[in-house]
Each structure stands twice: as structure tokens, then as C-alpha cells.
């Protein structure tokens, strides 16, 4: 709950951001706030393709991507094992979204801690 609230605070701190979601390295959405997007899985898949193609440019690891569409912008921030996706209006301050990395770092750490403490479910019968 605290994670969602903190993510909601990040969203509210930047004017024009309609949706934020965080996905793990397998592309599964871990948490999201704001508008529910129908094309979320398509966005995640496209991002994975971008990272794969960009790795061939020999420029190191992926840090961030920005895609400016006609009425919207999509900003993706990479963290170790996680990615944060921001969907915002075209007028939204892109620099402010990029600077929200600092606010997101403790949230990502908390998600990582929650996942680490989850006990694996065993499917074996006694």
C-alpha cells in the first residue's frame, strides 16, 4: 500500500502524468497508478525490443527512453531488474520526469525488498 501511495505521490508531483507503472525484468507489471492502459503489455514488449536493439550499438546499458507522440509522451526509466513507464501529455516537463528517478529509487528498493521476503509457493504435496 505504501509503495502505491509513494508512486501516486510521484505522479501527483508532475503535472500532466496520467499513468505510471513499474514492470520487472520479465515484463510483469509490479505496481501501477493512474489510468489503466489497454496497451500496457504492448508497450513493455516494444521497450524490451528497443533495449535489445540498442545493446547492439555498443553504448553500454540502457538508462532511459523518450518517445514523443502527437498528443502524448512515453518516458521509460531503467533500474536494475525494473523499469518505470510514464505516460504523460505532450506539454509535461520531460526533465521533471527524468529527475523523478531519485524519488523512484527508494520505491524500487522497497519493491525489491518485498519480493525478496515473499516465501516461494511450493506445488509439491507432502
Amino acid at each position: 500500500m505504501e509503495i502505491v501511495r509513494s508512486l501516486e505521490d510521484v505522479r501527483n508531483s508532475i503535472e500532466g502524468v496520467s499513468s505510471i507503472f513499474i514492470a520487472d525484468k520479465d515484463g510483469a507489471v509490479v505496481c501501477s497508478v493512474g489510468d489503466e492502459l489497454r496497451q500496457r503489455s504492448a508497450i513493455i514488449q516494444s521497450h524490451r525490443n528497443v533495449v535489445e536493439q540498442a545493446s547492439r550499438l555498443q553504448m553500454g546499458g540502457h538508462k532511459a527512453s523518450m518517445f514523443f507522440f502527437d498528443p502524448t509522451q512515453l518516458i521509460i526509466l531503467s533500474f536494475p531488474s525494473f523499469c518505470a513507464f510514464f505516460l504523460a501529455s505532450h506539454q509535461t516537463n520531460t526533465g521533471q520526469i527524468l529527475h523523478s528517478r531519485r524519488q523512484l529509487e527508494p520505491i524500487i528498493s522497497e519493491i525489491r525488498a518485498v519480493i525478496a521476503t515473499e516465501t516461494p509457493i511450493s506445488l509439491d504435496y507432502d
Partner: protein, 113 residues
Amino acid sequence: MLKQKALIQVLEQANTNEVTSAILFNKEGLLLGQSGEEVSPTWISSIWACFDRRDLNESIIVMDEGIIGIAPVANMLLALKASKKAEIGMVRAKLRAMAKYLEGPISMIERDV
């Protein structure tokens, strides 16, 4: 007709302030002109294709070792490669200015073809 020398001279103008390469190519990754450091148009066109929609105006990819900016010019793509020291706003400004400048001449070539 496209004057290759003139095109390269235009592209060269982007190569300041940590921008190391400017490249014009088609969406299939075939090169029209390049100035500065070598970059593969194949991989850049593949990056663009991942999110290619009619309303995609511009894309910036920030990597550990540099920045790639991509924008459409008529039916072609213009890409700028910059070092990690470059400011993203500067890369975007150059990308927009160059795309706007090349839009007219490149559209004319397409009409002729």
C-alpha cells in the same frame, strides 16, 4: 537530384557540443548520408520500428555511454549520436532543427523518385 556532398555538409553542422555523428537513412536501414563517427543505421531503424506509429515525432534513447536521438524526415529517418556528456535538451534541439531543415529537400527527392 540529391547532392551527396551538400547533404554531408549539412549533417556535419550538427557535430558540435558532444554530438559526434549525424546520419540520414531510410526506414529499412539503408544509408543516404553520414558525418562523424560511424553508427549502424540498421540498429537505429530497428529501434525506431519498435514504436513506429504515424504519430511518433521523435525518440531519444539514453545509454550509459551516450545518447541517440531519432526523428523522421519525410519518409526517412535522421539520427544524432552524442556522448554521455551531452545535454539531452541540446541533442533534441539539434535534432528538431536539422529535421526541419532537411524536410523540404528530402520530400522533393521522394517526389522525384
